[in-house]
Amino acid sequence: MIREFGLIDVMYLIAAARWTLALTATAFIGASLIGIVIAIARILPFAPLRWLSAAYIHIVQGTPLLVWLFVIFFGLPLVGISVNPWLAAATAFSVYGSAFLGEIWRGALVSIAKTQWEAGASLGLSLGEQLRYVIIPQSIRVAIPPTVGFLVQLIKNTSLAAVIGFVELTREGQLTAAGTYKPFAVYITVAAIYFAMCFPLSQWSRSIERKLDVAR
């Protein structure tokens, strides 16, 4: 039976957007935890660590996110590991995000002059202490704008989770469109909700970029 597309559907879409945000937040945290390890491994003077982390980044960035979603959601059950859509999506997005954040943060870390490392080393700080007290605090200001930019990408990309049946904003839109047969109105609404989530973040990113620039 075809029903009308009404306010109640909009409310459902907004409710589903919570799952988009929840997936984004979970993936962002997961990606951050792996990403910081990758970024640091990429800059330490231990060649095997650098190669491993570089390989990780190349493999993840050189393969489509959609394929990772399929591998984890459809592939893992074949080897006896059952995953629900939420877990599959959270894992795939964490892995995907970690490669990008790893690269962004590596760039921020190497943007700090070598002389800062030397100054720390000359005072007797260990490599870890140089990172923690000297390099990372200075690289944060460099890292914030592109990190927020990536977060915006992540919000939009979580729509891919719809293909494995994870009901977030896009999947809810698909269901609503099927039920109301008003795809144009539904997807415009979906787009508007994505925009409402992403636009403030982009603006925020710009404003901190400006602020950090002034403080320099």
Partner: protein, 243 residues
């Protein structure tokens, strides 16, 4: 026993040999000025002494500890050897106080309050006690360099290395830094300075070492070497810098 012993060190960057069989002994309390053209290897030699640059051959010892031995705890060595750089290299995200107290707190495990007291004391020695809570960007180049010297002093080193510490400063700012160097020297600190300040070398250097093409070309008591250079290379160098 010498505080610093350098025996036959060689160092190359790729095919370019920057230090060729350099040997130098420095006694406790000596103030050694290392002079020479840029590219003569003087800064590189200085950076080898605290292990910032590895050497390919030879031995460097500071206070009996071999610097270029992989088993040496460089972290421990560097607490005894301070270095001040041409470009100051203060930590821009930290206040003057935190710049000075970071290593004492983290490396020497000093209590924050005690470390702050030390910061106050060393800042007073460089004449900047009122800048304790300023940030590096709020200071002039000369002040930043004096803070960098204070930061080094706060570790109570036995030896201090100065790598062209006035070269990045405007002429009117070099005086205040040289004055601090003089007072550190007069307190008996063992100092090795790579410098272009011939006047300072003459007045406060116990010895002048002239480097040329990666070797120690001529050395001796500061006044004598600068007044009567023996080798034509040093004569040429001095006549070039003294005009």
């Amino acid at each position: 026993m010498s505080l610093v012993e350098i025996h036959g060190i060689n160092k190359s960057y790729g095919s370019v040999q920057v230090l060729k069989d350099v040997s130098l002994d420095i006694a406790k309390g000596e103030v050694v000025a290392v002079i020479g053209r840029s590219g003569s290897g003087k800064s590189t030699m200085l950076r080898c002494i605290n292990g910032l640059e590895p050497v390919q051959a030879g031995v460097i010892r500071v206070d009996g500890t071999q610097v270029n031995d992989p088993r040496t705890n460089l972290r421990k060595l560097r607490q005894e050897v301070g270095i001040v750089f041409q470009s100051f290299n203060l930590f821009p995200h930290l206040s003057v106080c935190d710049n000075i107290t970071l290593a004492p707190r983290v490396v020497k495990k000093q209590a924050p309050q005690a470390a702050r007291e030390v910061a106050r004391e060393v800042l007073a020695r460089v004449g900047l006690e009122d800048k304790l809570d300023a940030y590096p960007a709020q200071l002039s180049g000369g002040q930043q360099q004096r803070v960098a010297i204070a930061r080094s002093l706060a570790m109570r080193p036995k030896l201090m290395l100065f790598d062209e510490v006035t070269s990045a400063l405007d002429p009117e700012l070099t005086g205040e830094v040289l004055k601090v160097l003089e007072s550190v020297a007069s307190e008996g600190m063992t100092m090795i300075l790579v410098t272009h300040e011939m006047g300072f070398a003459r007045r406060f250097g116990s010895r002048v070492v002239f480097m040329h093409e990666g070797r120690i070309h001529e050395q001796g008591p500061a006044a004598a070497v600068l007044a009567e250079p023996k080798t034509p290379e040093l004569q040429t160098f001095l006549s070039a810098v003294l005009h």
